[in-house]
């Protein structure tokens, strides 16, 4: 039995890691059935990027969903920050018989936001972004408002995002990735520490 202990431990750890890292049901956008209603953050995945004084917002939009171009609004949410009108790319136009000519984004939208700040970096850059979208199948989400903390760097688009309530105050963290890191890292550290402790216990029994 002893020789199976390590493989069993590995197997159980793999299973635990798989369970902890598996996508929760509300994030399974790529495997959702056609009858799912995607949560708004899955239907419209927003990230931001700040580099060389240029702030970019990027929405990745699930298939069958769209965002209205004229419902995108950006405003400053940190001191000494002035945000200009966002530079919106052309979208797909269609004539809605009720709302007239509409321009919407499918698949993705990348928006540049000009800004100037006079705090010399004293405050973390914060902007509030509001947008609204619908599903082509016939329902719409209420306007979504988020406070973003764009992070600079040459890597992928990243951001710290806080959903905001009706008063614009943060109500929750939009990221679950660091929770997964914390859980799995903590578990690994726990197992590792246990193995070291076990090794230390194997002290030679002093002989009289």
């Amino acid at each position: 039995m002893r020789r199976f202990r390590v493989p069993l431990l590995c197997l159980s750890l793999f299973g635990f890691a798989g369970a902890a890292g598996a996508s929760p049901w509300w994030m399974r956008g790529s495997t959702s059935t056609e009858q799912d209603f995607l949560p708004p953050d899955v239907a419209f995945h927003l990230s931001s990027h700040l580099e060389a004084g240029v702030l970019q917002l990027r929405w990745v939009i699930a298939d069958g969903y769209f965002i209205y171009r004229n419902k995108i609004q950006v405003r400053a949410a940190s001191p000494d920050l002035v945000v200009g009108p966002p530079i919106l790319p052309a979208g797909t136009r269609f004539d809605d018989k009720n709302f007239g000519l509409q321009e919407v984004y499918f698949q993705q939208a990348i928006v540049s936001v000009p800004f100037t700040r006079s705090d010399y970096g004293a405050h973390p850059l914060q902007i509030q972004v509001t947008y609204q979208g619908c599903a082509q199948s016939g329902f719409c989400y209420p306007p979504i408002s988020k406070v973003l903390f764009p992070e600079s760097g040459a890597g992928a688009m990243t951001t710290r995002v806080f959903a905001t309530g009706r008063d614009g105050l943060p109500v929750g963290d939009g990221s679950s990735a660091w929770e997964a890191v914390a859980i799995l890292g903590g578990t690994a550290a726990f197992v590792f520490a246990g193995l070291i402790q076990r090794r230390r216990r194997r002290l030679p029994v002093p002989t009289a």
Binding site: L13, A17, A62, F99, C140, L195
Partner: protein, 232 residues
Amino acid sequence: MSKSLRVGAALLLAVLAIWTVQHAALHQPLQLGAKPSAAPMAASQVTVNGEAPAPLDTPYAMVKIPERLPDFTLANRDGKPTSISAWRGKSLILNFWATWCAPCRREIPILESLDVQWKPQNVAVIGIAVDRRDEVLAFAAALHITYPLLIGEQDALDAAAAVGVDSPMFPFTVFTDRRGEVVAVFVGELHRPQADLILSKVKDIDDDRIALPAARRAIAAGLDTLNAHAAG
């Protein structure tokens, strides 16, 4: 390095590798865009009492559909607080909507025609506008909405949560029988065939021709058929 340390290091690497792979899989949102389009009517869905799917399959918008329509009070067009119990004894079509919502707007002619057709049969259409009052009144005047409207913002969102739609997406429509039991909650744009199906079963319940659970099953099956027909 001792055997224990080697095993520990291997486990640590294994865990990190698994997490990295799964993290990468979770963050490929562009793949969502490659998914085939859903059928035009497929996202509209009915949820019925007592037959809620298991939590993992629960639609995002749904929390817990109540057995009976809860009482709530919202301002009417004149600003007078009006309880939903003012329509007690009638079967209800409660349409939750907002002025900025295109499918909500498309539904309005259907709701008007349902009101005309079903009013003599003790069925009332009530619009629950979750929006700013001034915008709703202007919108209702422009579109000549004749059925009763209740209007609210947070209080209307609370009403939506009370009927089980906690994370609202609009429109959605609640159907009750004359006893105040919730027969169905339909999320998405309501089309005439779907409305006719649900209301025919509400009528059957009201006339004691069918029990509520059987009506719900018939509605669910009928909507599946309609969706399959629309998709096919």
